[in-house]
């Protein structure tokens, strides 16, 4: 038993790197998605529905890349997770507000 608990040591640097990798891939993809939704609403009135979504999608790749880079630049994996979740929630709230304003 002690062998396994030694092996699966969740505060070992390897697990923390793995945690960041997961954050970068999935929380980063979530951010790319929420940013698409956000730009789709933000630009809705100025350029129209379809182009707004298209611009949001075109921008989502650089945003994804920056999110992934940011995950690996902060001091701890925990900070990376919390930061990305916060950003996702904030973008969702703004998107929701814009939906209300646009309708």
């Amino acid at each position: 038993m002690s062998y396994f608990s030694d092996k699966i040591n969740f505060i070992s640097p390897r697990w923390l790197v793995f945690s960041r990798v997961v954050a970068a891939i999935f929380a980063g993809y979530a951010l790319a998605t929420t940013s698409t939704l956000f730009f789709g609403q933000l630009l809705l009135t100025s350029v129209g529905k379809y182009e707004a979504v298209h611009i949001g999608m075109l921008l989502s790749f650089p945003i994804y890349a920056c999110a992934a880079m940011w995950v690996f630049s902060v001091a701890s994996a925990q900070k990376a997770w919390i930061g990305l979740i916060k950003l996702n929630v904030i973008l969702m709230i703004f998107t929701w507000l814009l939906v209300q304003a646009n309708s």
């Binding site: 790319a32 379809y50 182009e51 298209h54 999608m57 690996f72």
Partner: protein, 539 residues
């Protein structure tokens, strides 16, 4: 990750690069070959005639229309591709109406003799250059979507590698001018830097445009959450408008002669650069005929197309109105594909594509070079991970080119009547690559490098010889005629073979100098022990 932002980015660059280096190398090499896929296909179909004789475009259109009327009167769509500098063949293609439950109808493709208007004799079945080109985004032996996601993942990591590379590199432009032609770590570092910086705009463009090729596949979640199914159809129409939507009227009518329409286009286009003609519903009263000339712009240009109706009357078709973002995407995709490129620009594409492949490869070699001194000192030999990277480096950076050489040889050597011949050509490629990936596990790294480089040199130099032995379209024939497309392939193979010979020579030189150093040091140590013994004796 690390104490400073820059150090973290350096760490990320290293590991992100290592994860995808071999797939990226594969994508760069096959994609770069793709810039010449028509020329490669031409070489792989040696039954095709050499240069087509001088026949006017008018005559070829006449013959093609006669052929299509006779053989494809039921088709929904015809396409006539006139010979051009890249592919000297007159090609006709047609699509039948889609059967129930099918998305597309059956498509047929024939090459016509431009003088007689008859089909050219059966060609050997081959994947040609197109199969190589297709692999770079479609991979092989796996479902389409799986391949797209693997490729997308690797491309995304490439984008991160490009950005982090620029960030952590302090003196990017001054370093570009300090190339130290030295061996070992500093030499490889400088090579990697120069290759990255010299074509940086290309690296960025090719990566980002590669991602937006599959925009709605990769960003599927945001796309589906933003738009409903019917809105998605409208999205495609708005962002990338189609040329002209015609509906079949189901009233039969014979199409007016294409030759007359061709004469009309000559009034609008000063130069005779007509490239292809597409006919929708050729036997319907609502037929539409689209004359297209060679692309003149990187993005869509309305004046490259002229439309006619079934009576051969000019139709005014409004220009396709891209949204600004649609035009940006169109521009990126066009830059990625390089369809607009003339022959000079096409060679430039080849050059920067190879620089990209070399950048990726030098990055992989840099990873091992940096760790080599430490690994060499380990009492139980190098770590498994280090050995694996070393083997995959050798097996990919030299092994893949050899495998592509094998693909070309297979085209000449597999029996023409073999069943699934085109598939077997590709199987030959992947079987030989697999063997070459395994081979370095059984050899010391430096010997594996040398042996595979030698093999590559032999194979590529052998390809023109094989062509000489198996076909009547070898250099002794193609050079005097001046068929540069065909001769160019053989000459390029010789050039690649010579490059590999040079690389093998350099590696061999290094082995010799290392062995030389060792024997000197051992001689010195022997001499010193002898001296020591003498001293002892004297004492």
């Amino acid at each position: 990750m690390k104490s400073t932002f820059r150090q973290s980015m350096k760490w990320l660059h290293t590991w992100v690069g290592l994860v995808v280096v071999w797939i990226l190398f594969f994508m760069f090499i096959t994609g770069t070959a793709g810039y010449f896929y028509k020329e490669i296909t031409r070489w792989m179909e040696p039954e095709r005639p050499l240069i087509s004789p001088e026949v006017s475009k008018k005559q070829m259109l006449h013959l093609s229309q006669a052929y299509l009327t006779e053989h494809a009167s039921e088709a929904e769509r015809w396409r006539i591709q006139l010979p051009n500098s890249r592919d000297g063949n007159l090609r006709v293609r047609w699509t039948q109406a889609a059967k129930e439950g099918k998305r597309r109808g059956k498509r047929t493709h024939k090459i016509l003799n431009p003088t007689t208007g008859q089909e050219v004799a059966e060609l050997r079945a081959t994947g040609g250059g197109f199969s190589l080109y297709r692999m770079h985004y479609r991979l092989h032996y796996m479902p389409r979507l799986v391949a797209y996601w693997i490729v997308g993942f690797c491309t995304m990591l490439m984008l991160i590698a490009v950005i982090t590379g620029v960030i952590f590199h302090k003196k990017i432009f001054s370093d570009f001018f300090t190339f130290r032609a030295k061996k070992g770590l500093i030499g490889w570092l400088d090579i990697h830097n120069v290759l990255s910086v010299v074509a940086l705009p290309f690296h960025f463009m090719i990566t980002y445009s590669g991602l937006i090729f599959f925009l709605t596949t990769y960003m599927v979640l945001g796309f589906n959450l933003s738009l409903t199914d019917s809105q998605q159809d409208e999205f495609h129409k708005q962002v990338f408008p189609d040329t002209l939507a015609v509906e079949q009227a189901e009233i039969a009518q014979t199409l007016a002669p294409l030759t007359d329409m061709y004469l009309q286009t000559r009034k609008y286009w000063l130069e005779d650069t007509l490239d292809n003609v597409t006919i929708k519903y050729p036997n319907d009263v609502n037929a539409s005929v689209n004359f297209e000339r060679l692309e003149t712009d990187i993005t869509y240009n309305h004046s490259d197309e002229i439309f006619f109706n079934s009576n051969g009357k000019l139709m005014t078709v409004p220009a396709r109105e891209f949204t600004p973002s649609g035009r940006i995407e169109d521009g990126f995709i066009s830059l990625h594909e390089g369809q607009f490129a003339n022959s000079v620009v096409r060679w430039l594409y080849l050059l920067v594509g190879l620089i990209g492949a070399a950048m990726v490869a030098s990055g992989g070699i840099l990873w091992t070079t940096k760790r080599k001194p430490k690994q060499d000192k380990k009492p139980n030999g190098a770590d498994f991970g280090y050995r694996l990277v070393e083997q995959l480096n050798i097996g990919s950076f030299v092994g893949l080119p050899i495998a592509i050489g094998v693909y070309f040889c297979a085209n000449r050597l597999l029996p023409v009547g073999l069943e699934n011949r085109a598939d077997w050509e590709i199987n030959c490629l992947f079987i030989s690559w697999a063997l070459l990936l395994v081979y370095p596990a059984f050899r010391p790294a430096i010997s594996a490098w040398l042996e595979q480089l030698k093999l590559a040199a032999v194979i590529f130099t052998f390809i023109p010889v094989l062509n000489f032995l198996t076909t009547d379209k070898h250099l002794a024939i193609t050079l005097p005629i001046g068929d540069w497309n065909y001769a160019g392939f053989d000459l390029a193979m010789i050039a690649i073979g010579m490059s590999f010979s040079f690389a093998a020579y350099k590696v061999k030189q290094r082995i010799v100098s290392q062995v030389g150093n060792k024997s000197i040091t051992s001689a010195v140590s022997k001499a010193s022990t002898a001296k020591l013994a003498q001293n002892k004796g004297a004492m």
